[in-house]
Amino acid sequence: MGGAKVTKGRWRAKEPSKVHCTERYEVAYVIGFIEATISGILMGGLYGFIAVSLSLIFGVAKIVNFAHGALFMVAMFLVYWILVLLKVDPYLSSLIAAGFLFFFGYFFQRLFIEPILRREKETAPLTVILLTSGLMMIIENVALLLFGADYRTVKTGYTGKVWEIAGLFIAQPRMIGFVLSLVLILLLELYLRKTNLGRAIRATSQDREAARLMGIDDYRVYKITFGVGGTMLGFAAAFLVPFYFVHPAVGELFVLKSFVIVVLGGLGSITGAFLAGIIVGIIESLGAQFINSALVESLIFIIFIGCLVVKPTGLLGKQRE
């Protein structure tokens, strides 16, 4: 990066006259992009991880779950109250939250989605979208009534802490969240590949009839998939709470983004969703450096439609006839 001495903190070299003007400018420019890419990767990984549970549900049960954001909000409130009441380390609280949310996901599917699955062979996307939108309205507004409209944050040991590497500032909770998400993604992939329950889930996602013929109780598989999806949301919430706010409407920020990521990553593909999340994160972060960040958001939707039309199974999904 040229010989210029990069000062800590202030982006302008101490003695402007000493450093040749273009070099100073070029250094800041390059660092700016590296930083934007890294923050894009970190946040993108978290977007991907939030979308993973949707990819599971959408991939396996073909359920277009619009209440995904509301479930995520419930997970965040759960983690918030665990931290406030039990004063536990946020990443430890994720285990408790994940446990609770397994049952929440399990019974969410049992009470609402299953009756529809039982009635119609192949759920018309319309019924499920409207049903889950209705559920989202109920969950979000009950939360508004219970918890009020305040924005809440939690001061954990990690909030506001920053690592500084060669002039780049990386927020600790984001990095830890990213790494833990990566670990959990690999664990989930192993679970799906190695355990027979995991294979049952993948079988049901490929062909529900064939799976039933093989003696797999697809309704139980769906409930477990929703449960596993709930656990993932529990972990994702625990990774986000240290640096994010909690509010009844927080889920709305992630709903459409999760759908974009799930489709880009390929339906039901876990690593696909994670990688697609990172790609979206980078586009958002780098794109915003050039064009207005509002247009970047519409750019992502345009890519979404492009991908749907060109390769509906997503960037990484296999091209299945």
Partner: protein, 411 residues
Amino acid sequence: MKTIGIILLTFFCVFYYGLGLTYAQQEVKVGVLIPLSGGLAVIGENLQMAHDFAVKEINEAGGIKSLNGAKIKLIYADTRGDSKIGMSEAERLILREGVVAIMGAFQSSVSYTSTEVSEKYQVPYLVPNSLMDAITERGLKYTFRVERKGSLWAKDQIDFIADMGKATGKSARTIGVVYESTDMGQAIAKGIRKWAPEKGLTIGLDEGYPPKTSDMTPVVLKMKRANLDVVILNSYTSDAILLIRTIADQRVNPIAFLGSSSGYSDPSFIKEVGKLAEYFFDLTEWTTDLKHSPLVQQKNAAYKKWNKDNRDFNGGAAFCYASTYILYEALEKAASYDPKKIRDAFATIKITKGPAMMIPWTPIEFDAEGQAKGARMLVVQYRDGQRRSVWPAEIASNKPVWPVPKWEERK
């Protein structure tokens, strides 16, 4: 059996007679339009408390004397932050609830549309805190606005930056405006683009980000690379929290940050962000330590004691409180329930005394377009969680810290 009948009969007569008595005293119904659900509910609740406190004081002090002690009755309507709902709610208040006047809407776009409805039905509409210029630039006869126009907010911000430069010798050259792409954000950004060149300031960054942005880092990185001296920010509460935290994480160190109220003056912002808000400047219409009148501290203390989570007034709430008194003065002057007379009272009112004087300018009167004459703003700086007025000198009670210490040097 008969006797029981008689006793019952008399009991009913007395009861009805008594009820009739209290009923004799007429009620002045006033509509209030504010966001009570959706993203802005927390701000709406805050304003509701201020209105209620003012009406409690007015009614306890004997109501409207010129209408033989009629009590003010506030009827709230939730705009949900949606201008379409604001319009039909305004119509409902006028037609079904029969209100004689309306206050409200907080959001510029909602006030902008609901004032059209009150104009059509000729009911006076007092707007305590919406800044969009167009609200009082359409020649409407029934709209009166207390808040200063949005574009002039930007003028004050630019004047403040220039004054700070002169006062401390550390003058800014390039400024940036980062705003949530909503009606308020765009109004202020337009003002900045207009007034900055007049004080020789170049705009290094003009970034409108979409509402409901999930991550502020890209915008903050853009801000960092633009090497700005002063960053003017404008967002509602959720973005404000995210922005400040990301700015602290990324160690962005301009001379100063300058907010434009709304999110940055919301009590839950300060509570959540804590000491990260230290040294943050915020343009606002009011704060608790103004020295232009003792009423400021008196009324704030009374309000703090009255409300359940002993909150101070913030700018928005103080203006709702004071506006309710402006309405009271107008009702006293009009001495009638007829909205047209109340409107005329508003047009000719000139308040120099009473709790409405909490507002940092006197006298309180409206020009032909319904805009409060002499409306001005002030700048506060956050010092250990308190909003201390620092500009303009004649009403501010503290010296500003300019430039702002770097993030690394803060404890």
